[in-house]
């Protein structure tokens, strides 16, 4: 496979250079030329206005007999005797995929003491549960998971395997993929079926979320994907009568090359605004140190870090290391909620790269509204507590 550039056609318009995420193409002597940085992603092909660039794909030669692979699997994980919620979300999506493929949906659990709940997975759309039972599976062991799952997959040949993109899922999924020589796509946010080929189109953010890539595994099976919790919704619209396959294994600690010595609970660490996904900040409009309590409550409800404008740190309403802005931290969270911050340039430069900005302010002409995505004009002292209540409600439903 390679990128072919027709230098006669090329007008050196540089559209391809702009489109290339890798800096893998440049203009030399009036024509685009591929550089060693090219990653063959094909972004330049779509960008070229004169169709001078083509991506020459080698013929797809299947590495396995794909027709042998049937069915959609979800691998569940569990902590402290409870199935992680992402498994239910994956069942929701898995059901849709299985329906399009006209095949069935299986949930795989490696654990112990789950007999009671196995039949309940039918309510979430599963046709079948494969339950591998062993005392030792109370804990997670990287190698035991990979060994058991690769045996199951080799034997039963599913065409799609969905795994939660948690620290556990992201630990065993790649190793399993390598052992099965299967394609794996991490952190998918979208999954679609190409009906005629039964290929799974897996869309995921890449390049720090600045780009989206759709990935396929056209020549091999199974197709594996990990998905972050919260991306898909669990559904109990389709109820199925569930078939339970229980496999008892006699495993002990010597079956793993690793040993779990102990589990340590960690305290939440210090302020880290730069890495925070959500920040709730207060400004002069908060009015007092005591006034920050409602801001803090909202932050807590959202699992967010607390921030403040310069004046609030100078007046000691919040700690100095929480200051956002020119003289404080520069932040770019997924969500930034500015409460009672007017939006002086010195604050804006510190937070304008946030993905979503919510502004709550009494003054409808406040500059903060100029860069905010969602604007709430009103008194923060009234709005914030109601917002906190609403957020708690949503969180408890999720």
């Amino acid at each position: 496979m390679s990128i072919i550039i027709d230098s006669e056609q090329c007008t050196a318009c540089e559209s391809c250079i702009v489109a290339c995420p890798y800096g893998g193409i440049e203009i030399i002597e009036g024509s685009a030329v591929i550089t060693p940085d090219c990653n063959l992603c094909g972004a330049c092909v779509d960008a070229c206005p004169v169709e001078a660039i083509t991506l020459e794909r080698t013929e797809y030669i299947d590495k396995v007999d794909k027709s042998q692979f049937k069915g959609v699997w979800v691998i569940a994980e569990h902590y402290g005797g409870e199935i992680h919620k992402v498994a239910y979300q994956l069942l929701g999506k898995g059901r849709q995929l299985a329906d399009i493929l006209k095949t069935d949906l299986t949930i795989v659990i490696l654990g112990t003491n789950f007999d009671q709940i196995l039949s309940s997975f039918g309510d979430y759309g599963a046709d079948r549960v494969i339950y591998v039972e062993s005392k030792i599976l109370k804990h997670y062991y990287s190698d035991i998971y990979v060994n058991l799952l690769s045996d199951l997959v080799s034997e039963r040949k599913p065409e799609i395997i969905l795994i939660g993109a948690t620290p556990t899922g992201r630990d065993f999924a790649p190793r399993l993929a390598k052992r099965l020589n299967a394609g794996l796509t991490a952190d998918c946010t979208g999954l679609e079926i190409e009906e005629e080929t039964r290929n799974l189109r897996q869309t995921r953010p890449t390049f720090g979320g600045n780009l989206m890539a759709t990935i396929r595994t056209p020549i091999s099976r199974p197709q594996m994907a990990t998905v972050r919790p919260g991306i898909f919704k669990a559904s109990n619209e389709t109820k199925k009568k569930i078939k339970i396959i229980k496999i008892e294994k006699d495993l002990n600690e010597t079956d793993s090359v690793t040993k779990v010595l102990k589990v340590i609970k960690k305290q939440k660490t210090t302020v880290n605004l730069e890495d925070a996904e959500i920040i709730v900040s207060g400004g002069r409009g908060v009015g007092s140190k005591e006034g920050f309590k409602i801001i803090k409550d909202l932050a807590d409800a959202l699992g967010a870090e607390l921030g403040g404008s310069r004046v609030t740190t100078e007046l000691n309403w919040v700690e100095p290391d929480r200051q956002v802005g020119q003289t404080g931290k520069t932040v770019s969270p997924k969500l930034y909620i500015a409460c009672g911050i007017s939006g002086a340039i010195q604050h804006l430069v510190g937070m304008q790269n946030s993905e979503i900005i919510v502004a709550i302010n009494r003054d409808k002409d406040a500059p903060i509204f100029g860069i905010a995505h969602y604007c709430l004009v009103g008194d923060l002292h009234e709005i914030v507590p109601i917002l906190t209540k609403e957020v708690r409600k949503i969180k408890s439903e999720d």
Partner: protein, 269 residues
């Protein structure tokens, strides 16, 4: 003991911007940097050497420009650096990448004829792709234990390795295994040192970056690069801008409810 550290040169994606007018990527002036997680891997490698002895070897697969990244880690105190560079490596997915790295590590182990006592260290993930897959896949290729998301690392007698692994947000698991082992580290594990001027001078005057191509590592062309990949990038596109500028109206309750619905749809809460 050999300590292999795998690093990647990546675009500094936090500086990437989308031009709102043309909805295209603004690439200009984006520096290439060492993947931030990998600096923590290098720091762990060097500190293992300082505490227990051994040799720290950095490996990177990428275009010739990635030599700069390797020079930087040589400046930090890495002993040797290898750059795996070949057009045949291009377009590799994580499976093909881990295969290539594994071939290089096996070759380097074989050359020295020492007993297979080694550690491989990776950063958890690269900020351009964020897959976190190469580490575990590499461990599988090398057929050694893996421990990902490592927060603390120590060696004890009889090649015993004890690590703390981040498990859930507020839970850490202490795990024991034996060398050889692959660990992938998270940022919290350490603070990477900055190379001093002396280190930089040393890296350019007394150390070298050794280039290895597909033949050097004995790679089968069908198992590397695009040919060795199971996945293909079918399409790359710029995500639709999530939200524009919405002024919420109505009573406070209505505004709050609408906001929450929007934020939930935007997947931020």
């Amino acid at each position: 003991m050999k300590v292999f550290v795998c690093i990647k040169q990546v675009p500094g994606v936090s500086e990437v911007k989308i031009d709102p007018k043309t909805n295209t990527l603004v690439r200009e002036g984006i520096p290439s940097i060492i993947n931030p997680h990998d600096k923590h891997a290098i720091e762990l490698g060097i500190s293992i050497k300082e505490e227990y002895g051994g040799e720290v070897i950095a490996l990177s697969m990428g275009p010739p420009q990635a030599e700069k990244a390797l020079r930087e880690v040589l400046s930090m105190g890495v002993d040797k650096a290898y750059l795996l560079t070949d057009r045949a490596f291009a377009g590799a997915d994580t499976l093909a990448t881990s295969h290539t790295l594994a071939l290089a590590i096996k070759k380097l182990l074989k050359e020295t004829n020492v007993e297979q006592k080694y550690i491989v260290i990776c950063g958890t993930q690269a900020i351009d792709g964020d897959t976190a897959q190469v580490g575990p896949e590499l461990a599988e290729e090398l057929n050694i234990p893996q421990i990902t998301y490592v927060l603390k690392f120590r060696l004890e007698e009889d090649d015993k390795v004890i690590v703390e692994r981040a498990f859930r947000t507020e839970e850490v698991v202490e795990i024991e295994t034996r060398l050889p082992v692959l660990v992938s580290v998270v940022k919290e594990i350490n603070v990477p040192r900055m190379p001093g001027v002396q280190g930089i001078v040393n890296a350019y005057q007394n150390k070298e970056v050794i280039y290895l191509n597909a033949d050097d590592i004995g790679a089968d062309k069908s198992e590397i690069g695009l040919n060795g990949s199971m996945t293909e990038v079918w399409k790359i596109f710029i995500p639709e801008k999530k939200v524009d500028h919405v002024v919420l109206t109505g009573t406070i309750d209505e505004m709050v409810r609408e906001l929450c619905i929007n934020l939930h749809d935007d997947k931020v809460i």
